[in-house]
């Protein structure tokens, strides 16, 4: 008896659809930057303005990422995908709502959100660089270390952004070089808050919400041990890994991820190889330096599978990569503490002696650099932001968020890019 017209949005929808400003009426798409699990990012500028100065990065969520049910996808007679509304994923809605609130110079700035034609477009300020690209530049074709002053300013700004997030009861949960943007004036902008969430009085254990967080190489040991109630300290571990990578130009703990069993998605495997990589550098943890070690769910797996006892070796690692600054090593040690209770907090790290000695931390991390990082590569062959088909077809074509004009399909690069891939950070199941 109830007809369709009652059950729909009624006249309201009609009115809104008539008056909505389209993405393309405001922005002109210059080209596309990168694709990922989340969808695709485009470079754009304002339409109808003479000044091309202000640039934007428009993130379009992949429809099957922000929605919950693939079975709803059909194709029309021409093979074009017909997308249905299926509910915005927890991850997309977190990123939307968090970015709308956050305002800090070390967090990527959200300019607007446009909901149009079943798609979500998040419009950010465009950032010319990111750490993945910068590290790549310094390691290819030959290795040329990033100057200490730059490393220091970058890491301080990262910590400043992380402090801001933590003060707002938010943890990022996916810090890694690819997610740390840097503007052309050398200002760090932490990006991709797709896994971020508030951590004050969670209704359920954090584990219940998302079984796996943080890209494997940057994942803290307590997460590898299956912690249910982890803390913001997981972000500081990731910052430690990023610091090490800025110094050595390669990931410090480059483990291989044990994949989740497709037939048993509920159980998360113990990440033996990743843990092994950590232990080789930091030494095998014990109840002495980590009293709660035996309380973690994966403690037994850890005991059974990592039987060799390694001595702490970070000091040697540090020497081997050619670094010598004592305070920098101290900071690194503090960030890579096994015990999350002992690990440096973001605001403590900000006032670490390393940052108090010369050279001074600069607001422009590139200050004094006599080199120019290449601009972000833009793929102008695809500037069709509207079609849903383009996203799925081109998804795997370009991996990275950086200018790969130096790219000789180098191993290190490709591996880094894989770390950004779908497999390493399973997103929250959509609702």
């Amino acid at each position: 008896m109830a007809s369709n017209s009652i059950l729909t949005l009624g006249p309201f929808k009609h009115r809104k659809d008539l008056t909505r400003e389209s993405v393309l009426s405001t922005y002109q798409i210059i080209g596309y930057i990168a694709a990922g699990t989340y969808g695709k990012v485009y470079k754009a500028k304002l339409k109808n303005t003479a000044s091309a100065e202000q640039l934007f990065a428009i993130k379009k969520f992949k429809s099957d990422n922000h929605s919950s049910n693939r079975s709803h996808h059909n194709h029309d007679i021409n093979g074009n995908e017909i997308v249905h509304y299926t509910g915005i994923s927890q991850s997309a809605i977190r990123e939307m709502s968090l970015c709308r609130e956050l305002n800090n110079k070390n967090i990527t700035k959200l300019v607007d959100i446009i909901l149009e034609n079943k798609s979500i477009y998040m419009i950010f300020e465009f950032c010319e660089h990111d750490l993945l690209q910068i590290i790549h530049y310094h390691s290819h074709p030959e290795v040329k270390p990033i100057p200490q002053a730059t490393v220091k300013s970058l890491i301080w700004q990262i910590l400043n952004g992380v402090t801001f997030l933590h003060q707002n009861w938010i943890f990022h949960r996916d810090l890694k070089p690819a997610n740390i943007m840097v503007s052309s004036s050398g200002v760090v902008k932490i990006g991709d808050l797709g896994l971020a969430r508030k951590f004050n009085n969670p209704l359920q254990s954090l584990y219940t919400g998302d079984k796996v967080v943080v890209t494997i190489w940057y994942r803290a040991p307590e997460l590898l041990l299956g912690a249910r109630h982890y803390t913001p300290a997981i972000d500081l571990w990731a910052v430690g890994c990023i610091l090490a990578e800025l110094l050595s130009l390669r990931p410090i703990f480059k483990g291989e991820e044990a994949k989740i069993d497709i037939n048993n998605k509920k159980s998360v495997p113990f990440q033996k190889n990743q843990f092994q990589k950590i232990v080789e550098v930091l030494g095998t943890p014990s109840m002495k330096n980590w009293p709660a070690l035996n309380k973690y769910p994966e403690f037994i797996s850890f005991q059974q599978q990592l039987t060799t006892n390694y001595p702490p070796n970070l000091v040697n690692w540090y020497k081997m990569i050619g670094s010598s600054n004592k305070q920098c090593l101290e900071l690194l040690k503090g960030l890579l503490e096994y015990d999350p209770l002992v690990r440096l907090t973001a605001d403590n790290a900000l006032v670490h002696p390393y940052f108090l000695e010369l050279p001074k931390v600069q607001e422009n991390a590139f200050e004094g650099l006599n080199l120019k990082y290449p601009k972000r590569r833009i793929y102008t062959d695809d500037n069709d932001i509207i079609s849903n088909q383009a996203i799925n077809q081109n998804f795997k074509r370009h991996g990275g968020a950086y200018d790969d004009q130096h790219n000789n399909s180098n191993n290190n690069t490709n591996n880094s890019l894989n770390a950004n891939n779908a497999n390493n950070v399973p997103r929250k199941r959509a609702r």
């Binding site: 956050l102 707002n168 609702r431």
Partner: protein, 346 residues
Amino acid sequence: MSADFWCSSQRNKWQLSRQSLLEARRKVLLLERKMIQNGLIKDYPNIHYDFNMRIYLHNLLIKLGRRLNIRQVALATAEIYLNRFLTRVSLKEINVYLLVTTCLYVACKIEECPQHIRLIISEARNLWPEYIPHDVTKLAEFEFYLIEEMDSYLFLHHPYKSLIQIRDFLNENSAVFGFTLTDDELQNAWSLVNDSYITDLHLLLPPHIIAVASIYITIVLKKNLSAIRVNSSAVNSNGGPNSMMFNRNPDQNSMHIDDLMILANPSTPGSDLVNNLERTNFHDMKLDEETIKINKFMNFLDHSHINLDEVVEAMQDMINIYVQWNRYNEQGVKKALQVMLLNRQL
């Protein structure tokens, strides 16, 4: 920002003044008239966004929330979404049952207690089969439109947190301020906050003001309780508040919803409630235990730099709910909505 109300989108983007709220409502009415003239919608003179409607919508939300066992804070978030949405959209162009369901669906995600879209739609269908589609895409579609209408500002601060903060602060500083909140008092204040979502207060005032108002009403009401009880037996609340957790069987120590209704009536002994805020009245009060507590609470407010004018404003609106609730006519709203929605197909 998410830890700080003062730099939140709730304050900087969505806090309205009485004036701007009035203006927004006027615009909705104008829009409505235009749509009627252009034949886009029909006029249903019995559909108003008045107290009757607001209590009805409030109850719809609570009913659905109960079925899904959803926490209070998610319900509160959903109700603010509802209030925000209806400052820009006319009731006559939407299906309120789908709106309520959508608000709750989005609120659960934001409050980190997500409900599966299929579950939420099947529970809503159980309650309102004529108005809720089988098809989840309709709910998912409305989600887009709801978020768009709020300009994607979704994070909220609620008075519940302020209540707990005030309680804890008073506990820690009982030596200074000389009083604390009992569990009963906290519970009563909490219930008053639950009901406050019927009003516009959450669009107009910071959450801590509403929290303070709820504590003030609680404490003052306690003092006036015995005086009120004399008159309270005659009241019969038809379809009265069901979110109130007050004990409905009056006993000496607990409050009764009817007390509030009488208190809200200007001709009863409790009517000096609001005036009590002006401290001149304290001289006339007998120095019984409750009066001392009110004095001490006033002393605390004085030291807190909380805007007392706003507290008074909040109290008036919060008490007014119970006057309105006395006149609430559920069947009237239900029928009017039925006529409108079932005729829309024609």
